[in-house]
């Protein structure tokens, strides 16, 4: 390693809102990256002391540990209801949920849709990795047609298990949401775009504008049986063709 010269200055360090704990994620897992981005947004907006993170069940079940913020673990799928309860009784708090695709778009469908429809002034971070990571790689409602998973060992068959659900498009049909967007992380440009999207979503909440949803096409190298590098390419080449990137609603 080179020795630092006096002329150098630190341009990137661990965000202050990020607790000094190692992630429990697999190598290359986007969960960690998203967590870092959120922490940085919290830093930038100066809201660490009033932010509450509402965690899911999923690989990110420990998300409440990663932030130097108050946090709560919620029942599988119910994060948006939990966030509603918190925000309603204490609107000064900045409340966000962090949820996987199984959590938000399968078991949590009702809670996710209705929090959006009520226009709760919360931010929903939706990690769509097209798989149930935590439980060992079963099919999610977002799993691609033909994709292998432990509960569709011959690949997802549309005739038996339907199609990858585009949850953000459904939420975009509602009147209340102020910001609905789909982002990804497969290269530097997308990482920056995701950072901006997350910042905007939090900013809207700070400004009491209402509900926002940031869907992020994430990887799961472990369940996809790919290297992180392959997984990024898969997202760029295949996943984005099923889940198009971009803003669906911006009423900010």
């Amino acid at each position: 390693m080179p020795v630092m010269t006096q002329k150098m200055t630190k341009v990137f360090e661990r965000p202050r809102s990020l607790a000094d704990i190692e992630f429990t994620y697999c190598p290359g897992c986007h969960h960690g990256l998203i967590t870092r981005i959120i922490a940085q947004v919290i830093d930038e907006l100066g809201i660490q002391e009033r932010t509450v993170v509402v965690g899911p069940v999923g690989c990110s079940v420990f998300v409440y540990q990663w932030f130097r913020c108050d946090g709560i673990q919620s029942a599988h799928g119910r994060a948006c209801a939990v966030a509603t309860g918190i925000k309603r009784v204490n609107p000064d708090l900045i409340v966000f949920t962090y949820q996987g695709d199984g959590d938000l778009a399968a078991i949590g469908t009702a809670e996710s849709i209705h929090a959006a429809n009520r226009g709760e002034n919360i931010t929903v971070i939706f990690i769509n990795n097209q798989i149930y990571g935590m439980t060992g790689g079963q099919m999610a409602p977002t799993t691609l047609i033909g994709q292998w998973a432990t509960s569709c060992p011959d690949g997802r068959d549309a005739g038996l298990a339907g199609y990858p659900i585009r949850f953000s498009e459904m939420v975009a049909q509602l009147d209340a949401p102020v910001y609905v967007t789909r982002q990804s992380l497969y290269d530097q440009k997308r990482i920056m775009a995701t950072s901006r999207a997350i910042k905007k979503a939090f900013q809207y909440q700070v400004e009491c504008k209402g509900y926002s949803l940031v869907e992020i096409l994430a990887n799961c190298p472990t369940s996809w049986h790919m290297t992180p590098t392959q997984a990024n390419k898969h997202i760029a080449d295949v996943v984005t063709s099923v889940f198009p990137l971009g803003d669906l609603v911006d009423r900010g």
Partner: protein, 80 residues
């Protein structure tokens, strides 16, 4: 004299290789060295080319990299 430099927290690196892909200057590669958890960690194979652009750290899922850059009067702050 490199414009930038990074510090990787070896024990936190999981050897995912994403920083290697991300570095526009091809500074990084696997070191062949295994940490306590058994991961083959990355290192600056070619440190002189580092510009301190921070792409590597912005990609790293485990937030293991600190980035330093030469003070250039014209540009303040960072894009991180």
């Amino acid at each position: 004299m490199p414009k930038g430099m990074i510090l990787i927290d070896k024990e936190r690196c999981k050897g995912c290789g994403l920083c290697i892909d991300a570095c526009p200057q091809h500074v990084l590669s696997y070191s062949g060295e295994y940490n306590q958890k058994g991961y083959n960690v990355t290192w600056m194979e070619d440190p002189d080319r580092c510009t301190g652009c921070a792409f590597c750290t912005l990609t790293c899922p485990d937030v293991t990299i600190e980035v330093y850059r030469e003070i250039s009067p014209g540009r303040g702050g960072n894009n991180a």
